[in-house]
């Protein structure tokens, strides 16, 4: 439960929590949850900066179509809204070091 988050979790205690590292910080997120949803509920707003202008972006469509929730997992760029939370997941901001 994160009161500072713009998002409310209806039943935060329904699922056991596991540790996910995002950008070097550990978060306790519901196991098996949608990663983008869990990160929003944990209070994160933006998950990446664009490689074009460096503007921050966060989840937009939640259905795998807009590619705005891109993150990096194991060196591969993935859509956070298409990934499930698992214990020990290490996630970094996509494109943090990209673009000219």
């Amino acid at each position: 439960m994160n009161d500072a988050s713009p998002f409310l979790e209806l039943s935060p205690d329904s699922t056991p929590r596991v540790t996910v590292r995002f950008d070097g910080r550990d978060y306790r997120l519901p196991e098996g949850a949608n990663l983008a949803a869990a990160l929003l509920a944990a209070g994160l707003r933006s998950l990446r900066d664009t490689p074009v202008s460096g503007a921050p972006r966060g989840p937009f469509c939640m259905m795998g179509a807009c590619y705005d929730c891109l993150v990096q997992i194991d060196g591969i760029t993935r859509q956070a809204c298409m990934v499930e939370v698992s214990d020990g997941l290490i996630v970094t901001r996509a494109h943090a070091d990209k673009g000219a």
């Binding site: 490689p51 074009v52 194991d74 060196g75 591969i76 760029t77 494109h95 070091d97 990209k98 673009g99 000219a100």
Partner: protein, 366 residues
């Protein structure tokens, strides 16, 4: 109103010529196809490339070198008038090899060409370790590469846009969404389009790529071109992975890595196939193993415009004087030569380059 020149085909080849003619003070009308036309100008690989060109015809190597040498000035000129940089980098290009035998053979063919060009063919042969110094991210299976110092690359879409912009700025008239159906020459040239419009011009340049195959004979050309498919993959934007372009992999200025290039004789089929893209992907991952983790964002098939020997065709019509066929498969590399020198040939002035070797008479059946 009659233009000095009508250019049929508003891709990079046609616009380079139009741009050069406008610089010489000529009035120009460019007739360009529609949004769905086969457009090599949109699908190409963006190389300004000298190595491997003209291995059996040194005149083609010289012509490519002449264009490559003119590119910096051409790009600067365009950048100055349009305010947009074309991302031209001419710091050499690589030809990667994973097979010793093919590598040796290629080097020998370059040595032969170097002799024919009186030594003006600056390349170095780099073994794996030397290459690793230049390109630290290459994979273990790469045995070496040929580094040619006259090679480079450019953002070809920005070139297309800059030409399109600057031709208009200089007063060139560009009609898009137009298909030319007929050209005749009652006195001056009369060009008829599908929309019923006719245009008049003193001279005509046919630079319509594959569209020239149907139109060519109407102007007295053989126009013996054919399409050849090349498939290209583009990755997401990545941190800098390589320093120099190669014929099969290059990193564009926006960050994406472009991977080519197949050579497929499949007629006008410009679709993307799994077999071919898997093959070029595997080859790219052999050269740069880090690419395996990169997302491929786009893929396409584009059609090259090839003459029977792969060289350009520059031909004035034997039946309609003042009509010229200009076609090549290296419209980016040759853009500077087309803008700066081919225009002298069209004008027929003393500075005209000798392009006899590129006449389509070379294909005449004996």
């Amino acid at each position: 109103m009659q233009a000095d020149y009508a250019i049929i085909g508003g891709g990079v080849v046609g616009l380079s010529i139009a741009w050069g003619l406008l610089k010489k003070g000529r009035s120009v009308l460019v007739l360009d196809g529609d949004d769905g036309s086969y457009r090599a100008s949109r699908g190409n690989f963006g190389l300004v490339w000298v190595q491997s060109k003209g291995l059996s015809q040194p005149a083609y190597a010289r012509w490519s070198q002449k264009s490559a040498a003119a590119w910096a000035d051409f790009a600067a000129d365009l950048a100055e008038s349009t305010g947009r940089d074309l991302s031209l980098v001419q710091q050499g290009g690589l030809d990667y090899h994973i097979d010793e035998e093919a590598f040796d053979k290629k080097v020998k063919s370059y040595e032969k060409l170097r002799d024919e060009l009186d030594g003006n063919y600056p390349f170095e042969v780099l073994g794996h370790n030397a290459l690793k110094g230049e390109e630290p991210n290459i994979g273990p299976k790469v045995v070496g590469a040929i580094l040619h110092h006259q090679d480079g690359h450019v953002n070809p879409l920005r070139l297309l846009k800059a030409l399109s912009d600057d031709v208009r700025r200089m007063g060139g008239k560009v009609c898009t969404g137009v298909t030319v159906t007929d050209v005749d020459k009652p006195s001056s040239f009369r060009i008829t389009c599908t929309d019923g419009a006719t245009h008049e011009a003193g001279k005509v340049v046919l630079s319509a790529g594959l569209g020239g195959i149907a139109l060519g004979p109407k102007l007295g050309f053989q126009a013996p071109m054919r399409p050849q498919r090349g498939q290209v993959l583009v990755t997401e934007k990545l941190p800098k992975l390589m320093n120099r372009p190669s014929g099969i992999i290059r990193q564009v200025d926006e960050g994406g890595v472009q991977i080519g290039d197949s050579k497929e004789e499949v007629g006008y089929d410009d679709s993307v196939t799994i077999d071919t893209t898997a093959h070029i992907a595997a080859r790219a991952a052999t050269v740069f193993p880090d690419l395996a983790r990169a997302q491929i964002v786009r893929a396409w098939g584009a059609l090259r415009i090839l003459s029977p020997d792969g060289l350009p065709i520059y031909q004035e019509s034997p039946e309609m004087s003042g009509a010229y066929l200009v076609t090549c498969h290296s419209g980016i590399t040759l853009a500077a030569a087309h803008a700066r020198y081919l225009t002298d040939w069209l004008e027929g002035n003393d500075a005209a380059p000798d392009l006899e070797v590129f006449s389509e008479r070379r294909f005449a059946v004996s």
